[in-house]
Symmetry: C2
DNA sequence: ACTACATTTAACGTGTTGGTTAAGTGATTG
DNA sequence: CAATCACTTAACCAACACGTTAAATGTAGT
C-alpha cells in the first residue's frame, strides 16, 4: 500500500523478513551494504533497495565514509509502533483478564454483548479517510 | 511482500491504516461488515477483503449468526509482534542509555566502533532465506 | 417460491513490491 | 588518468495490493 504516514511505513518495513534480518544485523553493529548482502540470498541492488525502504521508514540512517556507506539502526520510530500495539495488550495479556471482564460487564449493562472475555475501551479512532486522501 | 510467516502477515496487516482503523473499531465491540464499512470511505467489498487479510494474520475471527457475519478481534498475534519490537527497546528507551553505553564500551574493547550511544546485544539472527524458499 | 438483505467472489485497472541484470556514479588506488 | 571498488539507478518482469462495479451466494422474511 506504500503508506505515507509514519506508522504505515514502519509496519510496512517490518513486514519483510529480509528487512527484519537487516535490522537484526544492524542491532549488533553498523554495516556496509556489502556486509549486509553477504549472508542474504539476494543481490546487492535488492539489499540497497531494502535499505532505502528502511531509511524511508526512519529505521536506519546512512553516512558515507570514503567509498563505504554505513547503515546505522535508528529505532526511534519503533517506539510509536510499540505504543500502538501496546494499546491492545489487554487482548492478549492474561493478567488483565479480570479488568477485561469488569469492563465487559460494565458495557454489557448499557448494550448487551455475548463477549465474555473482553470488550470496551481505548484504541484511537484512527480515521483512514485522511490517509486515503493523502496517498491516493 | 505477502509474507507467509506469522510475523510478516501481522506487520503487513498493520501496515494499512484502514485495517488499523478496523482493529480499533473491533477493540470496542464486535461488528458486522456493514457496520465496519459505514465510517470508512471505501466500498463493502474492499472492507470484506481487508477483513480477510486481518483473518489471515490471525488478528480477527469471524462467526456467522444468521445473515450477519460478526468479526471479533483476536489480538494474540500482536503479542509476538510486540515482543519482536521490544527487543529493540534499548535503541529508543533513554532509561537504557547507560546500559547501552556500557555494552558499547565492552564491544568496543574487542572491535573499535565510533558508536557512542548504543551497540551490541541480542535480536534474533532471523534468516530470511527460509522465508524466501517458502514464499517464492 | 419470491424478495430483500448481508456479504463474498469475479473481473478488471492500476500502482507498488521485490527480484533480476546491466549500466551509471563517485571515491580510492595503482 | 585509468582501473577498481562500493554502491545506486535504470529497465524490466511477475506477483500482489487495493480500489472499483457487477454478479453470485446464502439466509430470512412474506
Amino acid at each position: 500500500m506504500s503508506g505515507s504516514d509514519q506508522l504505515s511505513a514502519v509496519f510496512s518495513a517490518l513486514a519483510d523478513p529480509t528487512r527484519r534480518a537487516i535490522l537484526a544485523e544492524l542491532a549488533d553493529r553498523d554495516a556496509t551494504v556489502t556486509e549486509l548482502t553477504a549472508p542474504l540470498p539476494i543481490s546487492m541492488p535488492a539489499v540497497s533497495r531494502h535499505l532505502k525502504a528502511l531509511e524511508r521508514a526512519g529505521l536506519i540512517s546512512r553516512t558515507r565514509s570514503g567509498k563505504l556507506r554505513m547503515s546505522r539502526i535508528e529505532a526511534a520510530p519503533l517506539r510509536e509502533a510499540a505504543e500502538w500495539i501496546e494499546r491492545y495488550r489487554r487482548f492478549w495479556d492474561t493478567s488483565l483478564t479480570r479488568l477485561d471482564a469488569h469492563l465487559a460487564a460494565v458495557q454489557a449493562a448499557g448494550r448487551p454483548t455475548d463477549r465474555t472475555t473482553h470488550g470496551s475501551a481505548c484504541p484511537d479512532r484512527e480515521s483512514p479517510s485522511k490517509a486515503h486522501d493523502k496517498e491516493n
